[in-house]
Every structure is written in structure tokens, then in C-alpha cells.
């Protein structure tokens, strides 16, 4: 029973990691770009939501506040691509890695400048609520996290597989020059995906904030999310989520049953094992260069 309790908590954590990884993989799938600022975008999203919802600030009702935060962060994500990342269009992938790491630092500074560096709490309407379930106690935060993640993943999957924009994005991610020739607005689509990624990051941020406190260093969770994306395999949306869940579950199990200090390192050790045995991730894509 205690074990299942652990698992549920781990799954909820894993959903947060998975959502961050999802935002990360979204951008990778659309332009093979890596956004190392994804964790910090999540952090900023959480703070923006706090800014709209908390009584100390704007004090709006919860759902409208979150929606407003999503819109704002969608705009931030879009602008990041439109005004900064687009300027290095055509440079190798490494340049984007460096650029997004730097942007992450800047986002952290902005959050610290506006909201300070002491931990703050996001006021959610369901704080402290729990559900009882044949002996299991599930906190409302965990339940909301899991449900929201499932819904969001389904929406994104549908978007990519069935809508015109989704298909156009997939085309652009495979051959940009050809996509241009077909009339696909490649750069605009890229910015759109970054905006979408910002929204996903915000939701992840709100869910993470509901389970604890937030401060500008929250973005360091991003490193674990990258590990999740690697485990799942970079080109796979469900893989990203699966990777997040795996890490989310490994952590409490390692903490409970392993020696001291292992819980911090277990996710990374697992990731390294996956990389050694299956270098392209569990749901891997094959990459090959045709010569």
C-alpha cells in the first residue's frame, strides 16, 4: 500500500518532468533545435501564473489567471524564437544550445528581479484537498497533475498527427528547403511551436508550483527533464512523457529503498545506462547519414 502511494507520488512528479520534456521535444521535432531554457521557461511560467493568481499580486480567479499566464508565456515563447532564435537561423545546432543556455540565465535574472529570490507559494483553489480511494490517499495536486498531463498529451498528439499545421511542422522538420518550396512558412511555424512550448511549460510550472514552493532556481529541474527526454528518445512525444514518468518513479523508490544520496543520482545513472545500451533512447529514432 505504501509502495503504491510512493508510485502515485512519483507518477505525479513524473508528469511534471514529462511535461517539461514534452515542451523540449516539441521544439526538437519541429526544427531539431534544443531549448536548454525549457526548465527556466517553466519557472517563469509558474511565476507569471503566481503573479496573476496570488492575492498579493493581481488576485484573479484561478482558471482565468492560469489561462492568462499561458497566453503571456505563449507570447514569450513566440517572441523568444521570433526575435532571438530566428537570428541564428542557419547556424549549426550547437549555437542554439549555447544561446538557449544564456537565455535561461536571463530568464532566471528577470524572475529574480520581479519576484525576488525567496520561495513563494502559488495559491491554488484545491490546496490541501485529498481524495480517499480504497485505502489510498491521493492529493488533489497529484490528481490534477496526472489528469492535466494526460489531456495535454492527447491534445498535442492529435495536433501533430491530424491538423494541417501539425503536418506542415513535421514536413519542415524533415527538410526545411523543400518545405519552403511547398509554400510552408517555416520560420513562422517554428515560432508557433516555441509559443506552444511556452504554454506547455507554463502548465508544467503551475503543476510543479502547486506541489511546493517556487524560486528562480526551479529551472534546474530542467536538467532532469532533459534526462527524461533522452531516456524517451528525442523525437518521440510519448517517449518524452514516458521518460518523465520513469524518472518520477525511480526517485522515490531509490530514496526509500536505496542508500543515502542515491535518489539524487539514480535518474542520471539510469539515463546513462539507457544511453549506453540504446544510444538513441528507448523509443528511439534511427539517425543515419546517406553518403
Amino acid at each position: 500500500m505504501e509502495f503504491i502511494q510512493l508510485i502515485i507520488g512519483g507518477v505525479a512528479n513524473g508528469c511534471v518532468y514529462g511535461l517539461i520534456a514534452l515542451g523540449f521535444v516539441l521544439i526538437y521535432k519541429s526544427s531539431e533545435g534544443v531549448n536548454f531554457a525549457q526548465g527556466d521557461m517553466m519557472m517563469l511560467g509558474a511565476f507569471v501564473a503566481l503573479g496573476f493568481v496570488n492575492d498579493d499580486y493581481f488576485g484573479l480567479a484561478f482558471l482565468p489567471g492560469i489561462i492568462l499566464a499561458c497566453i503571456v508565456m505563449g507570447g514569450v515563447g513566440y517572441s523568444m524564437d521570433r526575435f532571438v532564435v530566428r537570428k541564428i537561423f542557419g547556424q549549426p545546432q550547437f549555437a542554439l544550445v549555447i544561446l538557449t543556455i544564456a537565455i535561461g540565465f536571463v530568464l532566471r535574472f528577470v524572475a529574480g528581479a520581479i519576484w525576488g529570490y525567496s520561495p513563494l507559494v502559488l495559491e491554488t483553489p484545491y490546496a490541501g484537498l485529498t481524495f480517499s480511494f480504497s485505502g489510498l490517499i491521493i492529493s488533489a495536486e497529484d490528481a490534477v497533475t496526472i489528469l492535466a498531463t494526460i489531456m495535454l498529451t492527447a491534445v498535442l498528439w492529435y495536433f501533430f498527427a491530424f491538423t494541417r499545421i501539425g503536418l506542415a511542422t513535421q514536413a519542415a522538420s524533415q527538410n526545411q528547403l523543400s518545405a519552403y518550396y511547398m509554400g510552408i512558412p517555416v520560420k513562422f511555424l517554428n515560432s508557433l511551436i516555441w509559443g506552444l512550448s511556452g504554454i506547455v511549460a507554463t502548465i508544467a510550472g503551475v503543476l510543479a508550483a502547486s506541489k511546493g514552493t517556487i524560486d528562480p532556481n526551479l529551472g534546474l529541474i530542467g536538467i532532469k527533464a532533459f534526462a527524461a527526454a533522452v531516456i524517451g528518445g528525442f523525437g518521440s512525444l510519448p517517449g518524452a512523457l514516458a521518460g518523465g514518468l520513469i524518472i518520477g518513479v525511480i526517485e522515490p523508490i531509490a530514496a526509500r529503498y536505496g542508500p543515502a544520496g542515491v535518489s539524487q543520482t539514480a535518474p542520471y545513472v539510469f539515463m546513462l545506462l539507457v544511453l549506453i545500451l540504446r544510444p538513441a533512447g528507448l523509443f528511439s529514432q534511427i539517425t543515419a547519414k546517406k553518403v
Binding site: 547556424q91 550547437f94 549555437a95 524533415q174 526545411q176 539515463m271 544510444p279
Partner: protein
């Protein structure tokens, strides 16, 4: 425009293009040797810090700039070098032996890391090295007997043949020691680049497929690159430990790794000089910022309460460079030099980069 009339292959094989360049470098080294005679104690300490960071930059440059393998976790190797050096000296070993062993141990560690790392590339390698950095941070805390756990260790003062090279006792001596190490390593690095080994590194960086077709054992080359890179970084770590005198795991966090990579990139990837530019950037930005802050507070603007300003400025500089000068500080210097060499005949788009449109190599 300078025309060099080459009369033998040696002109191309030599380290320096012509006598003037050799003289200029010689002059630079001479000036560096004379620094302790006319610099304040504070400036001398900063100069020593810059030298040590150049060494770290050189180590990372071998791997990233010349072999194309991304490492976001190089502070881990600084840590291994620092702790090994301190531990051996605390066990009674003489400095030179401890120092070289620290470098060798870190190099071997790097070669072991290479075994899985060889099979990864690009973003996977970057994230794997990040994970490595986090793991080493944890391992350092857990290995208390050697590393002093959370508390840290004390690196004993260096003394060779009775002469003190301690960082606080005789800073000039310590400075000259670091300078000597940097000069020797740079010499080896430059030799590497003009030889067959260095060319094989460049081949692996630019086209692994061609490299294989030319008979280069890519796996062995990458392992060698990792080993050399980590060895040099380990040496830098050893010196860093003595510079701090007392250090713990917080000196080698993942943020340090990231900062090192960022700095080396803006310094100028693929050039030895880029490593030196990166070190100057790392040590100069906080100093310049402090001066600016003082200046601003004189006119009433108080920025002292704003934390994280150093990192912000560093990041903004970075973003500026990535967007407008991806070749880095040394790359910009080369462009300016080329402009003046060809003046007034240089063409405006001489360094225009070809855009690479994404053509995915993913096949599923």
C-alpha cells in the same frame, strides 16, 4: 598586404608563420614573466586566476573546438584534478609528482568516460556530460575520506626544493609556476595541431565518415581526445585547488561547467587563442562590472542590491556574440586582421556564412 615567400616546407610546418610572429609571441611571454614586478598584489592574483582558467579553457578546447565533442560537464574533471592533487599532497607526496599524477588520473578517467561517450553525439553527448557533472558532484560529497565531504579540503602550500611557491606566501612564485605550466601545455597543444594526431582530431570533428574512409580509427581518436582534454583540465583543477587553498564541491558545480563551455565558445572555438580569450572573459567581466557599479553608485544609481548581475551581463554578452559573431572574440580578431591585411581591397561579404537548411538525418 603581407606576402610571405616560402622557400621550404618548413615554413608551413613551423609553429610560427614568420620571424615577426615568433618575436611577437616571445615579447608577450616576456611581458607575462615581468608582470609580478609592476603589478599590485590584487592584479597579480587576478592574472594567476586568468592563467588557470586559460588552462581549463585549453583542456575543453581540445575536445569541443578541435574534436567536435560537446562537454557540458568539464568542471567534473577540474574537481577530480583538484581533489587528487590535494589528497596526494596531504598524503605527503611532493607537489610535482602529485600534480602530474592528478593530470594522469583525470586523463585516464576521461578515457574511461570516452568508452560510452564515443557512441553518443551531439545533444545526447551534451546531456550525458551534464549528467556526469551532477554525478561527480554527488560522488565528491559521498567520498568524504578523500574529499572532506561537504566541508572540503585544504590544499597544502607548494614547495619545491625548499623554495616556497605558496599562493599566499609568495604569490609571484605561484604565478610563475602557473605561467610555466600554461606555456608548456600550449606548446604541446600547438605541436599537436600541426601533426598527424591533431589532423585526425580535426577530421573527426568535420566529417567522421571521411575520417573512417581515410583510415582514421574514429573511436581511438575520440578516446585520445577525451584523455588529453581531461588530463589538461585535471592539471588546471590541480592549480585551481592551490589557488583557492581551501575548496569544496561548490567550486565545481554544473554552473561552472556551463560557464566554461559558454566562455570557450565566445572565446573562439577551434583556436588556441580562443581559450585565452575565454579566460580573460571569465575573470574580466566581474571586475569590469564592479568598476561600473562603483561608477554608477557615484552618480546615485545603486546596483549593489541586485544579485545575479554578473551572470546577466555574461549571458547578454554571450547572446550578442552568438547572434552577431558566432566565431567568437578571436574569430572577430581574425576578421579584422584580414580586413586590414587586404585594405582597401577586402570584400564586404568575405566571411559570409552559408546557411545550412535543416535536412534531417532522423529516419523514422
Amino acid at each position: 598586404m603581407k606576402v610571405i615567400f616560402k622557400k621550404s616546407y618548413d615554413r608551413d610546418i613551423d609553429l610560427f608563420r614568420d620571424r615577426q610572429t615568433a618575436l611577437r609571441i616571445g615579447l608577450l611571454v616576456l611581458v607575462l614573466i615581468l608582470v609580478p614586478f609592476f603589478a599590485s598584489e590584487y592584479f597579480l592574483a587576478e592574472a594567476t586566476n586568468t592563467l588557470i582558467w586559460s588552462l581549463a579553457g585549453l583542456g575543453l578546447m581540445v575536445l569541443v573546438g578541435h574534436t567536435g565533442q560537446v562537454s557540458l560537464g568539464h568542471a567534473a574533471f577540474l574537481a577530480i584534478g583538484a581533489y587528487t592533487d590535494a589528497a596526494l599532497m596531504n598524503a605527503g607526496w611532493p607537489w610535482l609528482l602529485a600534480f602530474l599524477t592528478a593530470g594522469a588520473v583525470t586523463g585516464v578517467f576521461g578515457a574511461i568516460i570516452a568508452i560510452p561517450a564515443i557512441r553518443m553525439s551531439g545533444i545526447y553527448l551534451a546531456i550525458a556530460t551534464m549528467a556526469l557533472a551532477v554525478l561527480v558532484e554527488e560522488a565528491v560529497i559521498l567520498a568524504e575520506p578523500i574529499t572532506g565531504g561537504v566541508a572540503g579540503v585544504f590544499a597544502p602550500d607548494i614547495a619545491i626544493f625548499g623554495i616556497s611557491f605558496g599562493r599566499y606566501d609568495s604569490l609571484p612564485n605561484f604565478y610563475w609556476l602557473c605561467l610555466a605550466v600554461v606555456v608548456i601545455v600550449t606548446f604541446g597543444y600547438a605541436n599537436l595541431l600541426r601533426s598527424a594526431t591533431g589532423r585526425s582530431f580535426l577530421a573527426v570533428r568535420d566529417s567522421e565518415i571521411s575520417a573512417r574512409a581515410l583510415g582514421i580509427n574514429v573511436s581511438r581518436t575520440k578516446t585520445l581526445a577525451f584523455g588529453l582534454s581531461c588530463a589538461i583540465t585535471g592539471l588546471a583543477g590541480g592549480l585551481m585547488g592551490h589557488f583557492f587553498s581551501f575548496f569544496n564541491y561548490e567550486a565545481f558545480t554544473i554552473i561552472i561547467s556551463i560557464n566554461l563551455l559558454l566562455a570557450v565558445t565566445i572565446g573562439g572555438l577551434g583556436h588556441i587563442q580562443g581559450a585565452f580569450a575565454s579566460a580573460i572573459l571569465i575573470t574580466a567581466v566581474p571586475q569590469v562590472l564592479a568598476i561600473v557599479r562603483d561608477g554608477l553608485s557615484n552618480i546615485g544609481v545603486d546596483l549593489s542590491g541586485v544579485p545575479g548581475l554578473d551572470t546577466l551581463v555574461f549571458s547578454l554578452i554571450l547572446i550578442g556574440f552568438i547572434i552577431y559573431e558566432p566565431l567568437g572574440i578571436y574569430g572577430r580578431y581574425l576578421k579584422i586582421k584580414a580586413f586590414w591585411n587586404l585594405f582597401p581591397l577586402s570584400r564586404r561579404d568575405m566571411f559570409r556564412r552559408q546557411m545550412t537548411y535543416l535536412k534531417t538525418e532522423r529516419m523514422k
